[in-house]
């Protein structure tokens, strides 16, 4: 990210400026910052959901700020896996449909999956690997799962089809400490195997020792919040 400046439409007082921010391929970066410190905004920019008013964001050699809206959506579908803090799943959909959802938006990830196996098998493999029994949960509605299980399903969804970038927005904050550790270990294992890059934001510094890099948002970004 170079010389990026962004304000939310309709909220002119809030602005985020980033002089320079870079992540190497295969890195596991933990991005620390206080709540409401612009972390989510940064992730929105990275994922191409919003577009900065100034500056360039180059991901995998493509400057996504130069892409049109639909092209950014396609780019996101092809290269990103995203895990939210909570409420990751479509509650009325089955677990298997939730996991397979990204494949209906990305040709490349569909092709990746079909290279080695079938979508259903790959989803089952990922779920098993993340500690869920596919036979038990696959046809259940997502809303019938516990929060911890839902986060694992979300991880499987982010990983399916081998996207290059995994973005996680405080994925463990809704889990208790024991489950946090377990969840991250499983996630890291899969990411390492896929050779993907992970960018995870959190306000919890105790997670730092699992990551290859740790940055603080305030070190490279300036945020302004006008008086109300």
């Amino acid at each position: 990210m170079d010389g990026v400046h962004f304000t939310w439409p309709g909220r002119p007082r809030f602005s985020l400026s980033i002089d320079r921010f870079a992540v190497g391929a295969g890195d596991r970066l933990l991005l620390l910052g206080p709540s409401g410190g612009g972390k989510s905004t940064l992730l929105s920019l990275l994922a191409g959901i919003v577009k900065p008013q100034r500056g360039g964001i180059t991901i995998l050699g493509t400057d996504i700020t130069k892409l049109t809206g639909p092209a950014r959506d396609r780019f996101r579908a092809e290269h990103f896996g995203i895990i939210f803090q909570m409420f990751n799943l479509l509650p009325y959909g089955t677990v298997i449909d939730n996991v397979l959802l990204p494949l209906s938006f990305s040709k490349k990830r569909r092709a990746n999956v079909k290279q080695s196996s079938s979508p259903a098998k790959e989803a089952a493999r990922l779920l098993t690997h993340l500690g869920l029994s596919p036979d038990e949960v696959a046809s259940h509605r997502a809303s019938s799962l516990s929060v911890g299980q839902q986060q694992r399903v979300a991880a499987a969804r982010a990983l399916i089809g081998g996207p290059e970038l995994i973005i996680a927005d405080e994925p463990t904050s809704s889990l208790d400490r024991g489950h946090q550790r377990e969840f991250l270990d499983l996630l890291f294992g899969d990411i390492a195997k896929a050779g993907a890059t992970l960018i995870m934001v959190s306000h919890d510094e105790t997670l730092a020792d699992n990551f290859t890099h740790v940055s603080r948002l305030e070190d490279f970004a300036t945020m302004e919040r006008g008086a109300r």
Partner: protein, 419 residues
């Protein structure tokens, strides 16, 4: 495919509100189509009532009025046509046949029509169908009556039954012609026209039952018995109207003018089709009002559906954010919502149409009996199909409102999933 399935599952999770929206649209569609069916049925019934008659003659009044009282037995004649005029018209060289109609009496609410046997020969309905007798025969004796199918069914009359004709047109007559009862000589086949609700007697009989009456009431002490009447020579004084058939239809305007300019008496001759057209123009305003009301009901139902979608929009922000995060385009997200509106409207339209036809199937005999209105269970007309498609398109477009709103919100939400 998964996206579509998830959209359907999302709808299923909200099935109750969705069902209510569908029902609201279904009922509104039923109303809209129903009004149209009744309107067409009514027009068809009216148009089917008379055919093969070139001109109708009556005392000078309005064309629509003459048509209504002479053919549809609605309203009353203001004046009569003298027998002399009738004979003059009958003698016109272009006239092939003429049938006299004499109205004014009734039997238990059913109108009594005095006419002659030519009526059964020349009267045509629904295309070119003649009147047929289901039982018995056409009147022969002075006090014979031929009754319509509904009269027979409602009052349970058989051939040979005696009936008494009441004076005037109320369903309960305080004065009647009890001293001269009639015998049912024949019962007509059902026609679906006012003929079904008519008691037909000979013109002479109308004279006969009034022979001892003066100025609308029996003259005390002057009762003339039925047998005495039979011996008398009965010559009609006046009739109410007459149906005319011409030798050539080309002569219709010539004869019409001749009758309208008849010097001895102010008369009016009308072309049944033209007067029917006038009648439609008259009721057109009411028809339009009905159509507007039903269209507004449809609009209300669609608004209700949009409201339903809007209220669920908040809980669906999560859905939007997730779909956006996995790479769904704004167009896809909007498309899903618009499709949902379209699917709901389509379901409503189909359900409404099915309900209407089912309802029509069951209500038909009742409507026919109560109002003499034949509502054919026919395939939807092209107008109806166009309207139904327009409703679905309107639903889709209405769904775009919430869709655009959802998209705007999903942009503003960015990566955060709100609940």
């Amino acid at each position: 495919m998964i996206v579509l399935r998830l959209a359907l599952q999302s709808l299923r999770a909200r099935w109750l509100t969705a069902l209510l929206s569908v029902l609201a649209i279904a009922f509104s569609v039923m109303l809209l189509l129903g009004v149209e069916k009744v309107r067409n049925g009514a027009r068809q019934s009216f148009a089917d009532t008379i055919s093969g008659t070139d001109l109708i003659v009556g005392a000078r009044s309005g064309g629509v009025q003459l048509l209504l009282y002479s053919v549809f037995r609605i309203g009353n004649a203001t004046n009569n046509v003298t027998w002399k005029s009738y004979q003059d018209i009958a003698a016109h060289p272009d006239v092939e046949w003429i049938v006299p109609l004499s109205l004014g009496d009734s039997h238990k609410g059913y109108r009594v029509l005095g006419t002659n046997q030519d009526y059964f020969k020349h009267y045509r309905f629904r295309g070119d169908q003649p009147l047929e007798l289901a039982q018995g025969e056409v009147f022969d004796d002075l006090f014979d009556a031929v009754i319509g199918s509904e009269v027979a069914r409602q009052l349970g009359y058989k051939v040979g039954d005696k009936i008494v004709i009441g004076h005037g047109l109320g369903s309960v007559s305080f004065l009647d012609h009890a001293n001269k009862p009639f015998r049912v000589s024949g019962i007509l086949e059902k026609t679906g026209t006012p003929v079904d609700r008519t008691v037909h007697v000979s013109l002479g009989a109308i004279e006969a039952i009034h022979i001892d009456w003066q100025q609308g009431a029996p003259v005390p002490g002057q009762s003339v018995s039925a047998d005495e009447v039979r011996q008398m020579e009965l010559k009609p004084q006046a009739i109410t109207a007459a149906l005319i058939g011409l030798k050539s239809r080309l002569a219709v305007f010539r004869v019409q003018r001749a009758i309208n300019e008849y010097r001895q008496e102010p008369l009016l001759a009308i072309l049944p089709g033209a007067s029917l057209q006038e009648l439609w123009e008259l009721v057109h305003v009411a028809e339009t009002a009905l159509a507007v009301v039903s269209a507004m009901v449809v609009a209300t139902a669609i608004l209700g559906m949009v409201t339903m979608i809007l209220t669920t929009l908040n809980e669906r922000r999560r859905e939007m954010a997730i779909l956006r995060s996995v790479g769904a385009r704004p167009a896809t997200v909007m498309g899903l919502l618009a499709t949902e509106a379209g699917v709901l409207t389509l379901a409503g339209v189909i359900l409404g149409t099915v309900l209407l036809y089912v309802g029509l199937f069951f209500a038909r005999p009742i409507v026919d009996r109560l109002y003499g209105l034949n509502l054919p269970v026919s395939a939807p007309t092209s107008w109806e199909l166009t309207t139904l498609s327009a409703i679905v398109v309107a639903g889709l477009i209405a769904g775009l409102g919430p869709a655009i709103l959802a998209y705007r919100r999903s942009l503003a939400d960015g990566m955060t999933v709100r609940v």
